[in-house]
Symmetry: C2
Subunit: 320 residues, 2 copies
């Protein structure tokens, strides 16, 4: 079966295969993606982020159920910051998949950390594009709100949902601070627990401070409550998320969000490509090999070495 | 005062200034670092990593106290994955600094996440070099064991201490899986709590499995217990850490650990430098500007754009 045709027909097997090719940097993956690219850009990408223990998975599952009640095809990318060895991601997927196994309107993938800077962001970008081309909308990305990659993934979504929960220690709660300034929808999950009022006051204060620096036509982030295990508040949460999507469209900001993500991927991939070229070149260039060896041996600091390297590097004077 | 001379004399004000210059990428910072570089390489870099709630800060404080009892100058870099807006890092520093305020043998700095991939790893590398040149040994890096940067920082230390704690939920505990395979010293903190025996069995099993793939002269990671709040087990922990340092030295692996970190910084900085050059060039090169614009506008996928860019890019054919 042709993978591109399969993806465009919404076939899960084709989508899963293409995502795997892209993860493995199989050249067929990027070639297929280039063909599909013109058919992407419709899906609203929703980042759901919050500390461990906030009940994000349960909340995302409830959002999936609500999307299905509304007859929307919905995809989930679970970004797991643990190692590929942990097995956590795989187990989580299995449990989830069982619930939605017979429903072609739901597509779930887990991503574990990659070995290079930005690898997780790239893998998430790729998977979201494939799901978008398959007709899934929204695409929900669930991520722990900690770490450079994870924060970037959350903040570059169309809509970032920041999940808080009463009763976590300050140390854990503070983890999500990196996305507080950029979230578009705030939700207190497990809102039947003690401490909910204090948490609400803290979040209201934060939103109040943030509103003071806002322009009149800026989006005003709502603060909602859910008890995801009982489905309470989930419909209102999805309403708020879609309302933000309509706001972005009306303000001509929907497509540029994907454009910004594409530019980040471009720059990260270009940087990584230059590094690969450097290492390749050092195999045949004795002076270059000697410089790298001097850095490894502690005879020159890396910044002085980079300054020298950049002197003799010519970047992209023509684009075709 | 000359900053380089101040750093070499171990003056905290000079060290703090140089670290700030390096964080701000003030050109004076890298120039000073180049001068100092030959005087680095002595300090043992100790990564202390574990999930939120494991009591890492208390454990690190106890290690600092133990180092001082042994009359070692000790530095701490607290890697805080939260945003610069959170204030958490600053508050934490103040509390700690008060305890050690009058002790020139202790130097503590917090690092918050930077805006680019690998920024946190670079800032930590820089600060550790300055502390090393100031005569601090060991340099302890405390980091939450989650996120690409954080895992990299922990695993590239000379010695990685993986902190576990009984009674955390699986979701939180799993976070540290990324460093389990690479840790050199394992410690169960809060070892007076329920669940300690089960956790010990899990960790012993993991170490047992890991030992099966090890070579005969590989380091055998010990599993220790501490109650950091009461100082219990801390002296034995520091003994184990220093023993691993001696093992590295005897195996001629001590210097190469710093060399590997320098190489990572070199490659990341080279990649970032190439990206800056690309963006600069696009201001005067119309074809390049058009290509970037096509990516932002969704008219071409980023991978096809990168392939085109790399075709017209020449990397480092001469190193001086």
């Amino acid at each position: 079966m042709n993978v591109v045709a399969g993806v465009l027909a919404g076939e899960i097997a084709a989508g899963a295969r293409l995502i795997r090719w892209l993860e493995d940097t199989d050249p067929r993956g990027r070639s297929a993606l280039a063909e599909l690219f013109g058919r992407t850009g419709r899906a609203q990408l929703i980042g759901v982020t919050g500390p461990p223990g906030a009940g994000k998975s349960t909340l995302v599952d409830a959002l999936v159920g609500e999307c299905r009640r509304r007859e929307r095809k919905v995809a989930v990318i679970a970004v797991d910051p643990t190692s590929p060895f942990s097995g956590g991601a795989i187990l989580g997927d299995r449990v989830r998949m069982q619930r939605h196994a017979t429903d072609g309107g739901v597509f779930i993938r887990s991503m574990a950390s990659r070995g290079e800077f930005g690898g997780l962001a790239r893998a998430t970008y790729d998977a979201a594009l494939v799901m978008d081309a398959m007709g899934y909308d929204p695409v929900i990305v669930e991520t722990v709100g900690v770490g450079q990659d994870e924060v970037e993934i959350a903040t570059l979504a169309h809509t970032t949902v920041v999940v808080s929960v009463p009763g976590l220690g300050d140390e854990i709660q503070a983890i999500k601070a990196g996305v507080l300034e950029t979230g578009q929808v705030f939700v207190i999950n497990k809102a039947d627990r003690p401490g909910v009022e204090e948490l609400r006051r803290q979040l209201e204060l934060m939103l109040h401070l943030r509103a003071q620096g806002a322009a009149p036509d800026d989006w005003a982030p709502p603060l909602l409550s859910t008890v995801a295990t009982r489905g309470e508040g989930v419909s209102a949460l999805l309403d708020a998320v879609f309302e933000h999507g309509r706001y972005l469209t009306a303000a001509n900001r929907f497509a540029p969000r994907l454009g910004a993500r594409s530019e980040r991927v471009l720059l990260a991939e270009f940087g990584a490509g230059c590094v690969r070229r450097l290492l390749d070149t050092s195999r045949s260039d004795a002076a270059l090999a000697e410089l790298l060896d001097a850095v490894r041996g502690g005879r020159i600091d890396p910044y002085s070495a980079v300054a020298r390297l950049l002197e003799s590097t010519t970047i992209a004077t023509a684009a075709s």
